[in-house]
Assembly symmetry: C3
Homo-oligomer: 215 residues x 3
């Protein structure tokens, strides 16, 4: 390949990585709505309950992040994809009751992906808004665990972040940490790629901790 | 009447309708403070408890709406009428204990008016801020049920939005829907009138559902 | 002293007072994290739990205040001192278990200082943002009791503001009231001094009420 073709290929990868981050972000919304739906079914909620709890769980973390950053209306309200994915997933989860080992395992993987992605994306937005690395770690973690906390508060459950599984919040903080490191070491041009890497690190850590029962 | 007089009469109606919406909005604040006061009395709160719970219930929904929209400090903090109505109603509710069938029925009507009005006003503000119709429905609903959710979370009750009465949130969403439809069909000049119509539709739906025990 | 030297001395006092307010503000963060740590220990939380609850309790009030004011990203995220003090205090409280009468008494004094300072600082920021005196009182009170409310909601405790000790919120409102009065009577140049005075009034009222068991 000529250097130009190489550069073009690299540019494609960079663009694609941003797109992949977006897809993972939306998958995270779906995963959190599904997790909320499991609890909504236990409590025998009606469709409205599924929708309210699903939106709170799926979009809550990002809304808290954007509200704290104060850089305009939260993306969950301006980019229709987020709300559409959350509502559609809640409706499907209300109508179709899926169960079984593979289903539980699948949601768990999606949840791990969500924790990693949201930790990374939250830190990325904090850095883009000019915040220091320490608040960036905090904001990444809030993004990842915020929706679940809102869900648990609404249901009077002890927020999962306090309950036993230490690595729940830690995975998100780790993903945020990779973003912070990458921001020091690389050019902002590779943002999509480093966010993807960070999400991968956080998600893997989360899955490993599930598998090995780390606490 | 000459066409000019007609136009002037129409202009008066438009201005008046905006004023009526404002009055309904404030009546909604009073209704929600009164509903919170019933619970505060059950829990034997002191005056401070009545005030804190009343402000949270009466102004919470609008504060969440304005905080999410990020178009400046919430109107509940900049327009003195809101805070004054909330505090005065809480003080009166603390001092005077009114009970009986007609009282309960009266609060119920006021609550229905509040749900419709807040659903409509929330959607109106979302559209004015340039949001799409779907987030406008969400924001209208959040405005209407937000204060009650904050109240229920503070009191460790299961938020009423999850509890049985499906039409509670639905009335607000319906009012928001009428606003969205009117925004497509009419000129923004008639905003006050369409908001009023929307509030009426939502409130009526809410009262009907109480009366017929719809779920 | 010559008039010039007097003026310089006065300027020094004004500058110093602003610095003292800042130190009290940070001491308030530490006090609230320590109070949260006592509850975290009761619940046998791990380090993550101490950190999450500590940050929520220590920085929650200020974050709510700044989010409502909508004058940019909350100071808790832009000024590193706040987050650093909160995290460091949570780590120390997790590692070192201090108990005994003097310790409890010390935290109680710090808590009183925090209530007064936060009530005063919250009202000050509201006035600086151009709000009326009534919302300034509200915002001062929210700043002071907000962190504790978030903490109690996360732990499913009845928020302390509802529970018996009336003067808990009242101390903060009193401090906010002194700031409002001072804003009418003095030049804004003496802001630091009047905030300090207000914090002192609120804190003393709080300590007196503890001592005498006022309700």
């Amino acid at each position: 390949m000529t250097p130009l073709a190489l550069a073009e290929g690299a540019a494609d990868v960079v663009t694609a990585s941003t797109e992949v981050v977006r897809v993972l972000d939306l998958l995270g919304v779906a995963a959190n709505v599904l997790l909320a739906a499991v609890l909504a079914r236990e409590k025998r909620f009606d469709l409205i309950g599924f929708l309210v709890l699903g939106v709170a769980a799926g979009l809550g973390g990002g809304m808290i992040r954007d509200t704290l950053l104060q850089r305009g209306t939260p993306v969950a309200l301006t980019d229709l994809s987020y709300l559409s994915v959350a509502l559609a997933t809640a409706v499907v989860a209300y109508l179709v009751r899926v169960e079984g080992r593979w289903w539980t395992r699948g949601i768990r993987v999606l949840d791990a992906v969500a924790l990693g992605t949201w930790g990374a994306v939250g830190a990325q937005k904090a850095i883009a808004a000019g915040l220091h690395w320490l608040p960036a770690l905090l904001l990444g973690t809030i993004t990842a665990v915020g929706g679940g906390m809102v869900r648990d508060v609404l249901l009077h459950r002890t927020p999962i972040v306090f309950g036993g599984n230490t690595l729940y919040a830690t995975c998100a903080t780790a993903a945020a940490g990779v973003v912070v490191l990458a921001d020091w070491l690389t050019s902002s041009e590779y943002q999509g790629l480093t966010t993807l890497l960070a999400a991968g690190v956080g998600g893997t850590l989360c899955l490993l901790s599930y598998r090995r029962g780390w606490r």
